[in-house]
């Protein structure tokens, strides 16, 4: 068999014959560059900074594991860590609560679309504004919540001024938009539940909680996965609400790691960038456990396609 002449002939330029290989990299270049400079490199730089004593101006001083050893004995760090744990656990309530509201609203009565949008409303509002709204709600003397507790127990509770309750007060404020987010995820999920399976299960006599647990929830798995991901991330990112509602107080009892890191690194009493970086590294490692889990699952789904 004689060799066939190349269909494109020798005119084919180097670019033309390689463009399918090169194009993706040209398209990726700007994105990767920005992401490398502002996200990937800073992560490594923070790890490095955490081994130094540095006020942001004068030369850095190497202290080895010094910052981490100091963290171990830092009472405020332990409080922040404990509060992060409380946030993480209580924030998860957003998932079932969101599901509950989604089920409540998954009807086709007139005007239901407007109800759905208005229930979703809190998510659109900035956390700064949410924080101010709840600060008003909890305000001593005239706040709705204060009046409610006064009416119920005789004495009112100023939640945000009480070191035992303040963190819970902030978490409730955070749950408000988070529930709205989970709700919208589940509403979309419920919309796509296979109707024939529901009908079949109904003929078999399934209803209520049994139907929810055995028929509906398995179909809502993608929605649940995303709801859990965004809720975990949201809980560990909590900064805005703490900063706005209590600024870490009273007596530093509402600090969380993200807030404590900011406070240490950029406080009025002198910047401690190295120490702040060490706190950030701890928060990052906690988050990494979850991120690794999410990404692992996503890679598995991707491969399964």
């Amino acid at each position: 068999m004689t060799a066939l002449p190349d269909a494109h002939g020798p005119k084919r330029s180097w670019w033309k014959s390689n463009q399918q290989k090169l194009t993706p990299w040209l398209f990726l270049a700007p994105g990767i560059f920005m992401f490398a400079v502002y996200v990937v490199w800073p992560i490594f730089a923070s790890f490095q900074f955490s081994f130094y004593d540095w006020d942001g101006l004068s030369p850095k001083e190497w202290v080895g594991w010094g910052n981490y050893q100091e963290l171990w004995g830092d009472r405020n760090f332990i409080i922040s860590l404990k509060n992060n744990l409380i946030w993480l656990v209580l924030y998860m309530l957003a998932v079932p609560a969101g599901l509950g509201i989604a089920i409540f609203l998954n009807q086709t009565v007139s005007g239901i679309r407007i109800y759905k949008s208005l229930f979703f409303f809190p998510f659109v509002i900035s956390q700064v504004v949410v924080g101010l709204m709840f600060a008003w709600f909890y305000a001593p003397n005239f706040g709705l919540f204060f009046q409610l507790t006064e009416w119920l127990f005789g004495t009112g509770t100023a939640v945000l001024a009480n070191p035992d309750y303040a963190t819970y007060g902030i978490i409730v404020a955070g749950l408000w938009p988070q529930i709205a987010y989970c709700m919208i995820l589940y509403l979309t999920g419920l919309n796509n539940v296979a109707p024939d399976q529901i009908e079949a299960a109904r003929l078999d006599g399934a209803k209520g909680l049994k139907m929810l647990w055995y028929v509906v929830l398995p179909q809502l798995r993608p929605a649940t996965f995303i709801a859990v991901v965004v809720t975990v991330i949201g809980a560990l990112r909590s900064f805005d609400l703490v900063s706005i509602m209590t600024n870490g107080g009273p007596f530093g009892q509402t600090r969380v790691l993200s807030f404590y890191m900011y406070e240490k690194a950029l406080s009025e009493y002198g910047y401690r960038m190295g120490y702040g970086a060490a706190i950030a590294v701890v928060l990052f490692l906690i988050m990494m456990v979850f991120i690794a889990g999410f990404v692992w699952k996503m890679v598995r789904d991707e491969r399964g396609h």
């Binding site: 398209f27 502002y38 900074f49 709600f137 995820l185 805005d240």
Partner: protein, 281 residues
């Protein structure tokens, strides 16, 4: 459909449901309604202890006070200056990255994709010290550019996830057909893929607009003055000045919340399509 449609139930159940809806909504939005009501109360009402009743007159002047006496309009302007270029930049970058990762099969594709995905989840604090330092070194500290560049870079992570999944779901035959015709790769992007991406671009734009408008952390880390601070950080510093002048705090909050709320109601379909991407398979 789950739960069983209310229309198949008794008349009493239907009426109960119809009555429950507005009650539940009012309870749900109580903090918002309270703030909205307070924002139109004259300060004399609050001084007289009228916290929950109707205002004696509608005090629109609260809004003028926060906007002009306290320069809230400047913070609003700053927010637009930061938000709009960020939306354009991150959506543009992710159209490119999404195209590369969604269309081409090459070594490292999944690795790069998951770098973007994972980066999108990291806590801001791990980036704070180096990004602030970099911004200072670039001479951009306390400028809108500082925020714009950082936000574009960070949002590219989320946007790439979104765009790549959207593009990967497009019919491949379209691209194959164009290739057979000998169309150059960049022309395939521009003339074949980009026009199909309009819904994704719209959804991402409204989402990123809201995310950036509502950003508070980076606004406080990278900007310091009233000339550059976005409205979230501005509201926080004004809140310090207004110590418990709740009619001003409320009016300021409402103003700061308005642009993303308007965006949401105008582009609701796109907004929800964007947020719930991946919630169904």
């Amino acid at each position: 459909m789950f739960p069983r449609p209310i229309a198949q139930r008794s008349r009493a159940a239907q009426l109960t449901y119809q009555a429950l809806l507005p009650v539940a909504l009012i309870l749900w939005l109580l903090p918002l309604l309270g703030i909205a009501m307070t924002s139109i109360k004259p300060s004399s009402d609050l001084a007289a202890g009228n916290y929950f009743g109707l205002p004696t007159h509608i005090a629109i002047e609260n809004y003028w006070t926060v906007l002009f006496d306290f320069d809230l309009w400047k913070y609003i302007r700053n927010s637009f200056i930061v938000t709009i270029p960020t939306v354009i930049g991150s959506v543009a970058l992710s159209c490119l990255t999404g195209f590369a990762l969604g269309i081409y099969r090459f070594k490292g594709n999944l690795l790069i994709f998951f770098m973007f995905v994972a980066g999108n989840f990291v806590p801001f604090q791990i980036l704070m010290v180096p990004v602030r330092d970099l911004t200072l070194n670039l001479g951009m500290y306390n400028t809108p550019q500082a925020l714009i560049l950082f936000h574009i870079a960070f949002q590219t992570g989320f946007c790439t996830l979104f765009m790549r999944n959207f593009i990967a779901a497009l019919p491949r035959e379209l691209i194959e057909a164009a290739r057979v015709e000998g169309v150059a790769e960049w022309r395939i992007f521009w003339f074949v893929v980009l026009p199909l991406m309009k819904p994704a671009i719209a959804a991402l734009s409204v989402l990123i607009f809201t995310f950036i408008w509502n950003d508070f952390f980076w606004a406080t880390v990278l900007t310091t003055s009233a000339e550059t601070r976005p409205v979230t950080a501005g509201l926080s510093s004004l809140n310090g000045q207004w110590v418990a002048a709740w009619h001003l705090v409320s009016a300021g909050s409402i103003v700061a919340a308005l642009p993303p709320v308007a965006m949401f109601f105008l582009m609701q379909k796109h907004f929800i399509a964007g947020l719930t991407l991946g919630a169904v398979k």
